[in-house]
């Protein structure tokens, strides 16, 4: 008798909690904003702890960077110094070109084509809880001016997009996440294509590029950047170098592989571009 009673009670427990789960799913699908204070509370309590652990962890696991010998450092310094010299030279030439460009643009009354994007630096404080989705969290949130759909970059390459924000915490979905799609183009030829995040190909270090035009004159080693067509990504952010271009099995489009510039395994600091892409939404269904 007693056993039965206990059993019933645990089953009631189950039903109540499953009910709560479905309620939560329902609320967050149909009225997501209602739950944001709860999220803000939880992240507010736990994210400082994550931040602390993360900084300690970074300190411990970068110990091998601190034990370089004097000779190594000298050699590095020499190489870098040479690099600086050559870059200085290049820079001088480029700045002359820039002046020339500005003069000519003014002459033709053209606006500058690539705007400079303003950025905010942020620290990665935790990674997604499993091995299935490439998601991470940064220590800046809406109070620091971060908004949903802002682009995130690191090492001069595209990392991902902010998909949820709370007060001092924002979640970033990387472009290698299995659910993400980025509309991209070839820097040289402006042929547009789609970079598809994929877990199964990323374990071999590349992403799939699909829907390249059959007639596009592209070759291996070309650089891919975010497209002007994209509705969420600002134009001209570098994604990676293309390889292995081949005709699709449908014979209508080409597919390729792209190796991302960003080292996704060792992300510590990222930059968030605070300019949002302004766009008129033509097609609601396109998901990026």
């Amino acid at each position: 008798m007693k056993f039965q009673k206990k059993n019933m009670r645990s089953r009631h427990y189950l039903f109540i909690f499953v009910g709560v789960c479905f309620l939560l799913i329902g609320i967050s699908v149909f009225a997501g904003g209602v739950l944001s204070p709860v999220k803000a509370l939880a992240t507010g309590i736990l994210s400082p702890m994550q931040k602390g652990i993360n900084s300690i962890g970074n300190g411990i696991f970068s110990w091998n960077e601190n034990i370089k010998t004097k000779e190594q450092l000298k050699e590095d310094n020499k190489v870098l110094q040479e690099k600086i010299d050559s870059l200085k030279m290049q820079n001088r030439i480029l700045s002359q070109d820039q002046i020339e460009l500005e003069r000519l643009q003014e002459l033709l009354k053209l606006k500058a084509k690539y705007k400079k994007y303003s950025t905010v630096g942020a620290r990665v404080i935790s990674k997604g809880s499993g091995n299935w989705f490439e998601i991470f969290a940064i220590d800046k949130g809406s109070k620091d001016g971060i908004k949903k759909n802002m682009n995130v970059i690191a090492d001069n390459g595209l990392v991902g997009i902010v998909y949820d924000v709370s007060d001092h915490y924002a979640k970033v979905r990387t472009i290698i996440n299995d659910t993400s799609m980025v509309s991209a183009m070839f820097l040289k030829t402006k042929d547009s294509c789609i970079v598809r995040g994929s877990l199964s190909t990323m374990s071999d270090g590349y992403l799939e590029v699909v829907y390249i035009d059959k007639t596009a004159k592209v070759k291996e080693g070309d650089e891919l950047v975010t497209s002007y067509l994209s509705s969420k990504f600002v134009e001209g952010l570098s994604i990676g170098k293309v390889s292995d271009i081949k005709l699709d099995s449908t014979k209508l489009t080409k597919t390729a592989k792209v190796t991302p510039i960003v080292d996704f395994k060792h992300l510590k600091e990222v930059l968030v571009i605070t300019d949002l892409k302004e766009n008129v939404n033509l097609d609601e269904k396109t998901k990026e």
Partner: protein, 171 residues
């Protein structure tokens, strides 16, 4: 004495969540990290029965949802079901037995991976099952199994201490 137990549950959930999201990203082996929250849910479900399994599973899943999910409640549901199912094995549980908890942990990790694969990948048309199996599921199960033993022993130890003090206060 209820207070002590509740405190133990809350602290262990928070501790495991921090382990999972912050500490183990530095300790990845073969590019996977172990699922510490799953270990916690399974272990406490097994030791304390269905109700504890449901409660712990729900809070673990909810934390994941809050921090990384798009929709609140999906991981909470998955984890609480795992907690409930493992609570059913409570009547077969003996403190000295290692084989049952260890076997359950590995089976649960695989089952969890299959569930994630089915609901979040196969339903979207990504069927590269064997590549997922090779790159994620099996390494994750092995690593989780390795981490599980010490963590299981630790949780059991604390739980036994709390139960003892509860019993003592009854008389």
């Amino acid at each position: 004495m209820r207070l002590k137990r509740t405190l133990f549950y809350i602290l262990s959930v928070i501790f495991c969540f921090l382990l999972q999201t912050s500490v183990f990203q530095f300790l990845k082996l073969a590019d996977v990290m172990p699922n510490v929250l799953l270990i916690l849910t399974v272990t406490l479900g097994l030791i304390r029965g269905k109700k504890a399994g449901i409660g712990i599973g729900f809070s673990c899943g909810l934390l994941i949802d809050i921090f990384f999910g798009d929709v609140l409640g999906q991981y909470a549901l998955l984890y609480l079901l795992i907690g409930y199912i493992n609570g059913c094995f409570n009547s077969f549980f003996y403190e000295d037995d290692v084989l049952l908890p260890f076997g359950l942990l590995v089976i649960n990790t695989l089952a969890y991976s299959f569930a994630i694969f089915f609901f979040f990948f196969a339903l979207r048309g990504r069927f590269a099952f064997f590549s997922y199996l090779k790159d994620i599921m099996i390494p994750e199960a092995v690593y989780t199994g390795l981490i599980a033993l010490p963590l299981y022993k630790l949780l059991l130890f604390i739980d036994v201490r709390i139960s003892d003090s509860e019993k003592r206060s009854m008389f």
